[in-house]
Amino acid sequence: MKKILLILFFVIFLSKVSHAIIEIDITEGNREPLPIAITEFFHDDNNELLKNDIPNQIRKVIVDDLERSGLFESLDQKAFIQQNKAMHINPRFADWRLIKAQGLLTGDLSIENERLKVEFRLWDTLSEKEIEGLVLITTINNWRRISHMIADKIYERLTGEEGYFDTRIVYVAEEGPKNKRIKKLAIMDQDGANHKFLTSGKELVLTPRFNPVRQEITYLSYFKNLPRVYLLNIQNGIQEVVGDFPGMTFAPRFSPDGNKIIMSLAKDGNSDIYVMDMISRVVERLTDSQAIDTSPSYSPDGKKITFNSDRGGSQQIYVMDSNGRNQKRISKGTGNYATPVWSPRGDLIAFTKNFQGQYFIGVMRTDGTGERLLTENWYQEAPSWSSNGRVLIFYRETKANDAGDGHSSSIWSIDLTGFNERKLETPLDASDPSWSKLIQ
């Protein structure tokens, strides 16, 4: 983890960015992916780059990131006509247009003073212009992050939105039959690489969530059979219980500045929402209803909180000011609504909906209008936003048969458009995903 902190970047703009002709409108639904030629970066043959197949691996990470977004189609390298190093300085655009490439990525790798130097250029083959170019210098072991950062730059340049590839996912890894399920916290890069378990499975753990600012996770642990909200520092592995509450604390989430944890406290059969300032340690109670109030989530400006309550007789989504005032219901449709999560862009709230025995992941505006259901399944819940607010991850379970077999749980992603639904591969079953912001 320290390596990430020690990362050293020199960023040099190779050119002034000119007006682009290729651009992707990602608000459009089922668009054709943009054909892009991603070439293997040039490099010397006799250095330690080749030992670990780094040139090829960097290309693969970039290709996989862009393709998984559903917005790009990486063209087959075998079709590439121009192969010489000159393409990085002066591409023969006609050759690239011939194979229908609208974008072209070229690059150069070298090792200088035991540091990896990566230079890349993104070209628009129609306007015949370089539209993005950077030099990144870092430790050799950081080649994966460099690759994600390049993919982010390409995504950003061609969509006009911030990328989300240099991010991680924390989730609950699961194994064993439902009545003897073993659950552990696990963390991985957004593409599944660098997978690591964070807890042993001895204690039941649920609902991990990233601190948006620091390398911390808040989650629920049944340590000593006392279900409480915990804080885990993922750099040094230190865990601490959050606050001293007279009952179960659960459903934690950080405030946007990373300094507060908002959560539910269950006491005498009633669950209300509390917030604890992790610096002053002051606890404030925000709701006081006889109903279940849970699953709170801050708006990105920290001024509002959305939460789940059954105070009106059924589970619905509510919004209140961050001091607990002006609580009002926003969900309007038929069915039960749960797990509201405010988009990092501030304009939407993602949720789980249960209607006629089916489960949906959907979004609505923050006043409850414009409800849009993105995916329907036998069971799915717990959406978490990508840092740019364009993609949601959630978990889905399969139905067990009457003998109790056939159950599984996995993480899926879907675009805000409702397209590009994909399963994320994990070593074990998976649930409760939380997506980090871009790594700082």
Binding site: L206, T207, P227, A266, G269, S271, I292, N308, A382, G404
Partner: protein, 174 residues
């Protein structure tokens, strides 16, 4: 009212189609938890009434004729008459065994979001605790813990399994 045979046949055909469609429609609905539904076991005994499990599978005994658990309807924490009977037996047993301390575990079925179900399990455990307290059992002898949907007893995904999993279970802690 009279109609020709031809019309009658047509009527029958329409009725048949309507019935057929209705039958098709109900097939996927076995996922839906209807409060009026009841499930019948292979032996013919009614096991789930209004969403509440009334059978004896999975039930263990704290002592002779003192069942350890009570069952709830979907998204409910009200105690049925049967649940109150069971808890009354537990209270009597606790009175007769004054040194016994207990934990009440609250559980939910898998058809609800994880966080809501944690709160629901807490409600169920406390509903049982409150009843024991009305029967004169001191709260100092009772702790509660919610497991939400994390610890089912029946791993199947059907109405009977879900009804068996919606429960509070009294366990001895000493």
């Amino acid at each position: 009212m009279s109609f020709k045979f031809e019309n009658f046949t047509k009527y029958l055909v329409i009725m048949f189609i309507t019935l057929f469609l209705a039958a098709c429609e109900t097939t996927p609905k076995d996922d839906v938890l209807s409060s009026a539904s009841s499930s019948v076991s292979s032996s013919g005994a009614v096991e789930v009434v209004d969403g509440v499990y009334v059978g004896s599978e999975t039930v263990e005994m704290l002592a002779v004729d003192v069942p350890d658990r009570v069952f709830f309807a979907y998204d409910s924490y009200s105690l049925t008459n049967a649940a109150q009977d069971t808890l009354a037996k537990q209270a009597k047993w606790l009175k007769a065994n004054g040194s016994v301390t207990i934990a009440i575990e609250g559980h939910a079925d898998e058809r609800g979001t994880r966080e809501y179900n944690l709160a629901l399990g807490d409600r169920r455990a406390n509903a049982a605790k409150d009843y024991l307290m009305t029967q004169g059992i001191s709260s100092s002898r009772i702790t509660t813990i919610s497991f939400g949907k994390e610890k089912p007893v029946n791993n199947a995904s059907n109405n009977k399994a879900w009804a068996q999993n919606r429960r509070s279970v009294t366990v001895r802690t000493n």
